[in-house]
């Protein structure tokens, strides 16, 4: 919002930048913190948000029918049960795939995304072609993702917004009866929860 940082003369808040630098120098002097350790953390955190939270939610829904019911009724609340959430993840609606309905998520306006459960959106999710075409010709776009759905399966496209973000709960693949919840969560990829893929029993 406030990105008027184009001008280069010092701003009042450079005071706090100096303070940060002074503290860092002091910590380095005391041997508490090395600069490259800070670099490593910053670099890691700028990238390290993955879909593992969402995968845990889905695996729980697969193994606990009561949880699944709560999840479909109030996604935000059920997700918070597992300790996930955040200001922007406030209204997460979970939509479940069935043998006759396949759900897929898009944000036609920008790139709204349920990041507390899915991490950062992939680049293609933000691309104008995906945003426009997923609404106009979802079956064709899913085909390009390698997902061929039988004609009798209805495709529901959910348009995210700042207020409501969607999480697809895919169907549990056949042949996974003996798997633990943790092993199941490893089958749930990011794309499965956006709806551009379905979990494979043998994957990963």
């Amino acid at each position: 919002m406030s990105t008027e940082h184009g001008h280069h003369h010092p701003r009042p808040d450079s005071q706090v930048a100096l303070r940060a630098r002074a503290l860092e120098a002091l910590l380095a002097e005391k041997g508490l913190v090395a600069a490259d350790a800070i670099d490593a953390v910053v670099e890691l955190y700028e990238r390290d948000v993955g879909p593992q939270n969402g995968a845990k939610v889905v695996a729980r829904a697969w193994t606990d029918p009561a949880y699944r019911e709560r999840l479909l009724e109030d996604g935000t609340k059920a997700i918070a049960e597992l300790g996930f959430g955040g200001a922007e993840g406030d209204n997460v609606v979970a939509v479940a795939n069935t043998p006759t309905v396949h759900n897929v998520v898009v944000c036609t306006l920008c790139s709204c995304y349920p990041w507390p459960v899915l991490g950062l959106p992939p680049t293609w999710y933000k691309s104008p072609p995906y945003r426009a075409r997923m609404v106009a010709e979802p079956r064709a776009v899913l085909g390009e993702f390698g997902l061929e759905l039988p004609d009798e399966v209805e495709i529901r496209v959910w348009d995210s917004s700042a207020e409501v973000r969607y999480l697809v709960v895919p169907m549990r693949p056949a042949g996974t009866d003996g798997l633990t919840e943790e092993a199941l969560s490893a089958l749930v990829t990011r794309d499965c929860m956006i709806g551009t893929a379905v979990p494979q029993a043998g994957s990963r």
């Binding site: 919002m1 406030s2 990105t3 940082h5 808040d13 706090v16 930048a17 303070r19 940060a20 630098r21 503290l23 860092e24 002091l26 910590l27 005391k30 508490l32 913190v33 090395a34 350790a37 800070i38 670099d39 490593a40 953390v41 910053v42 890691l44 955190y45 700028e46 390290d48 948000v49 593992q52 939270n53 300790g83 959430g85 955040g86 200001a87 922007e88 920008c110 790139s111 709204c112 995304y113 990041w115 507390p116 991490g119 950062l120 959106p121």
Partner: protein, 99 residues
């Protein structure tokens, strides 16, 4: 879990959930200026090196945010990471590592 670089972001998020949550924009951490990222990194490393808990840090952060609400015209991220520095200094002082 993540070797070498301290706790994963998910752990930090969990520890700071609610009023002290890290500033974000559509999931991505917001660093308007490099010092804000450095402040976050310093906090993570200091906690790891000193063995202080995120709960201890969070208490200082809550207090710092309360004492210094955002000034008019100040961005949320600037106010947050300024409070973060306050909290970090308070934690270091508490442990006798800062005068």
């Amino acid at each position: 879990m993540s070797a070498g670089a301290g706790p994963g972001l998910a752990e930090v998020d969990a520890a700071l959930a609610g009023r002290t949550a890290l500033p974000r924009d559509n999931g991505e951490l917001v660093f308007e200026e490099p010092w804000q990222g450095r402040a976050l990194g310093m906090g993570v490393v200091v906690l790891e090196r000193t063995g202080a808990s995120w709960e201890q840090f969070r208490r200082h952060l809550v207090a710092a945010i309360r004492e210094h609400p955002p000034e008019p015209g100040e961005s949320a991220a600037t106010a947050y990471y300024a409070a973060w520095l306050d909290a970090l200094e308070a934690l270091l002082a508490e442990r006798g590592l800062l005068p």
